[in-house]
Symmetry: C2
Subunit: 560 residues, 2 copies
């Protein structure tokens, strides 16, 4: 008897497309069904070469578009939802998200390039109160977790291979300001029924203890308003932290100050949060920024965008005196209610602080008092508590750098988890589950999409990198369009390379080198791309030897 | 009676040329006499565009070269001495420094560009034991302070206007590892005799308490060697921290491991420190890196350069597997005995850490234990203690950002110092002292010298900035060398700008724009620089409108 057809066993695939600290995207696949969790933007680290933000690689979703049943968003942070419009332009996938996230996404549809999405997109309400959603092989439900934006969700995915808990950014907050407490009981129930795998936030896996509750800052702002009853005050925080805004607005009202939102992100967040009932304050709690200058400054408080010192942000412009409507007075105080030492942007923050001081202002930040911020990411004890309740067979730490991911592994090893139970994944890594076991699958190649207003080709960015470090060295070869003979003289142009006056000799030698190559082909260019390649290669080598630099070398023929 | 000649009163000038966290240079001037304190390099912050380091503006010293009597170096850190050869190339000024600093400077003379300085430079030994040095109106002497490099000096400058204490980087270390305790008694003596002004380190002015002693780490390294008796170990620290090296080497010997220096800076520091007796260890304590691979890894410890994750450093290359001689084994441990969250380079450090983990290694840093590093800069209580002993009439906080400088002011205000007694200076600011009073003088314009192997013109860097962010847009116009008529077709080349395939229309429109300008001048180019300017200006405006970008626009004519 011959078996010509095998009943290929289905496997559950966990595909880490964009899993790093930002730019989140996870794909779950089983047979003919795919669901995705989160679709957020990433941020360039270090030298950005004009890249504004990064969109996760959507190739796999597009190539398997017939399978894609839905996209679930865990919470309303840009690194978890803000790339959604880019996906929707290519694939009309139903979006499952809470009200807050939906509102933020709809806000993006006001941008010219996304206007067409407004009517086409199918939004489905998805939160801890909605019924489980069956999409092919997947049954998906949500439970509450805590984080620095309200309504953050843990996601439970029932699959034919077992239950997966997907816990993106979270912490345990026993007394949140405007949110529900994390549903540890639900996690425990899943744990008792059996969890195949838990994908878990790992950003705090190096920090001991519990991270603590947002309400530990309840007294911070009343105290600051008491301490500075007559001063001009600016408070800056991240615009999605609605709970923090709630504390600031409440304290401002008690202190007899009206809140002046400054900056589009802050303004929009307040509007959305008020419309959804997160901020139960009337119109009279606020003052339009246009009217702020005519008020006595001790009667208002500016809630201003730009807590990470972002260039072009409202706070950055105020700090340099370039803001059209808001002026920092001498003695004015800027309070940073935000993450200390934000990675990658610490220099920007320090620039803003220095500029505030130069304008005669004062700064209060984490170095002055430690009750200005509490993180939304659980520390070791938060993460361990959840792990011990969920008791998953396998762990996949997500939402962190390699360092955080590895620290999570070491952390759970201390509570008896074995190394083979934890998958440390890089972008493109795949874990396959079948018959209760798990193994790494074949890795996908990942190509991020770089956005600087419009999408950028990776070659463009690579060129910019070279130009940024060592400048341009261009050779122009005039060629007769009739005879293909080299006409006149080869010319050399440099920009950002070396100070030209000091380098006449170098230019001369470079021209000689090019002329020699042209001579070899009888000063006739029939196959320019070959000659071009030879010129660029030889010049690169020559310039490296002479100057130790790697400028972008570009040979260009012009037909005359 | 007519006064035709006035006896102009002499003033003492304090000129802050390069005072920031790095790139230190202070000039003291009285009448026909100038002395300078420190001449260090600075580091670019954020995007560096290929700038390796920055040299302080030496214009004032060169313009007044006949007055310059000597340069005093406070301690052997690159940001206080490493620009000296650049000055010496222009001005043969006598150098007053301790032995260690002299050795480091002489090391720089091995570089090709500085070879000529070897025999010409006059070094004078200057430390707490040498006699006061009279140079014109100045009598200069030194006293011991503590810092993260041995032999660090406070400098006392007696002038006709009174005594100035110049305390660059310092802390109070009651039990230094290989150094003398800071001479608080001497500072008190000066204070009792009367101090006109104290220039003081201010980097720790936001941090409460005393910073603590270097010997608090005495048990760290023995403990680590005990904890990991069989592991491959790498310890990275800054190469000038000889006291830290002393602790590491001592602990290594006790643990039966030989020390393998990896990286030129570490290698050279060890050689110099041994030659001066700072590291009292014989040849047998060390092992050449060439022989390290054949040893059992548990019998050696790598002391490796690159604790800030510097690209190209030994540690960075080991972390990516690109080091020619040293391989990180799985399970190998990299220990960072260095500053936590180094400003501006935190991303680089995290990249190295991630790469170490990717190669199967482990990392121990400040997040794992808090006894891996102690700063060389005094905290509030160090600074206040010194201030209360010196009791200067005027304060000039130095060696910090605007934020640190201003915090120093607020700190001393709390011990009764009045605002007018503290001068918060920016680069180029001048303070003038006469008759016991002080006021700000006319500010000097400062132009840093940017170095990337050889000196860089500011225009070059500016071009790189544009190229880095938005790329290049070049227009090439072929012109007959005989008739000056435009020949053939105008061509457009872009690099790092937009993906060319997507922008044919834009290229076409740009060519039209250029052709129109050329048409207006009858397609004849007699005054190219005017036409060039017009093309570049109009194209910049056009491209900004069409793409929102500011590429470097370059029009170039080629004669055929």
């Amino acid at each position: 008897m011959k078996f010509t057809k095998t009943d290929k066993k289905q496997v559950l695939k966990f595909i880490a497309i964009g899993d790093s600290v930002t730019k989140n995207l996870t794909i779950y696949e089983y047979g003919e069904d795919i669901i995705a969790v989160d679709f957020g933007i990433g941020f360039p680290e270090g030298d950005d070469h004009g890249v504004d933000y990064i969109v996760p690689d959507m190739t796999y979703l597009l190539e398997n578009s017939h399978k894609v049943k839905g996209l679930f968003i865990s919470h309303a942070h840009a690194d978890h939802f803000a790339a959604v419009p880019h996906l929707l332009q290519q694939l009309n996938v139903p979006i499952y998200a809470n009200r807050l996230t939906q509102e933020y996404i709809k806000l993006q549809f006001n941008e010219k390039q996304f206007k067409n999405l407004k009517n086409e997109t199918q939004f489905h309400l998805f939160n801890a109160s909605t019924e489980p959603i069956q999409l092919g092989a997947f049954k998906v439900s949500a439970f509450n977790v805590n984080h620095s934006v309200p309504g953050s969700l843990g996601i439970a995915i029932d699959t034919p291979e077992g239950t997966v808990l997907h816990l993106a950014d979270y912490k345990i907050d026993e007394s949140p300001v405007i949110d529900s407490v994390i549903d540890l009981k639900k996690i425990e129930e899943y744990g008792n029924k059996g969890v195949l795998c838990m994908a878990s936030d790992c950003l705090g896996s190096k920090t001991p203890g519990f991270v603590g509750t947002e309400s530990s800052l309840n007294e911070t702002f009343p105290d600051l308003f008491r301490q500075f009853p007559n001063e001009q005050l600016f408070i800056t925080t991240i615009s999605s932290n609605i709970s923090r805004m709630h504390q600031i607005i409440g304290a401002a009202i008690d202190a007899g100050r009206k809140v002046v939102p400054v900056g589009r992100s802050i303004d929009q967040s307040i509007k959305i949060a008020r419309s959804l009932g997160y901020l139960p304050y009337g119109e009279d709690a606020f003052l339009d920024v246009k009217k702020a200058f005519e008020k006595n400054q001790k009667d208002i408080v500016y809630m201003i965008a730009g807590c990470f010192g972002q260039q072009g942000s409202s706070l950055s412009r105020v700090s340099t005196g370039e803001h059209a409507r808001v002026t920092l007075n001498p003695g004015g105080i800027v309070i940073f209610s935000s993450e200390p030492n934000p990675p990658g942007v610490d220099v920007d923050v320090e620039v803003v602080i220095d500029n505030v001081i130069l304008r005669g202002g004062e700064v209060i930040d984490h170095r002055d008092r430690d009750d200005l911020h509490v993180s939304g990411h659980g520390h070791k004890d938060d993460l361990l508590k959840v792990a011990s309740l969920a008791k998953p067979k396998y762990f996949i730490p997500i939402g962190g750098s390699i360092n955080h991911i590895h620290s999570y592994t070491k952390m759970v090893e201390k509570i008896g988890v074995k190394q083979h139970q934890v998958f440390e994944l890089l972008e493109g890594d795949v874990v396959e589950f079948s018959d209760g076991d798990a193994r790494k699958g074949k890795r996908l190649e990942i190509n991020d999409i770089l956005i600087d207003g419009k999408s950028l080709d990776p070659i463009v960015v690579k060129d910019r990198e070279k130009l940024a470090t060592d400048g341009l060295f261009a050779v122009i070869v005039p060629v007769s369009s009739e005879t293909r003979k080299v006409m006149g003289k080869v010319d050399v142009v440099t920009r950002g390379f070396v100070y030209v006056k000091e380098s006449k000799e170098l230019m001369g030698k470079s021209k000689d080198l090019v002329n020699k190559i042209l001579n070899k082909s009888g000063n006739t260019v029939t196959d320019w791309s070959n000659v071009k390649h030879k010129i660029e290669k030889d010049l690169q080598k020559f310039l490296k030897k002479e100057t130790g630099r790697h400028p972008l070398v570009m040979a260009h023929s012009i037909f005359v």
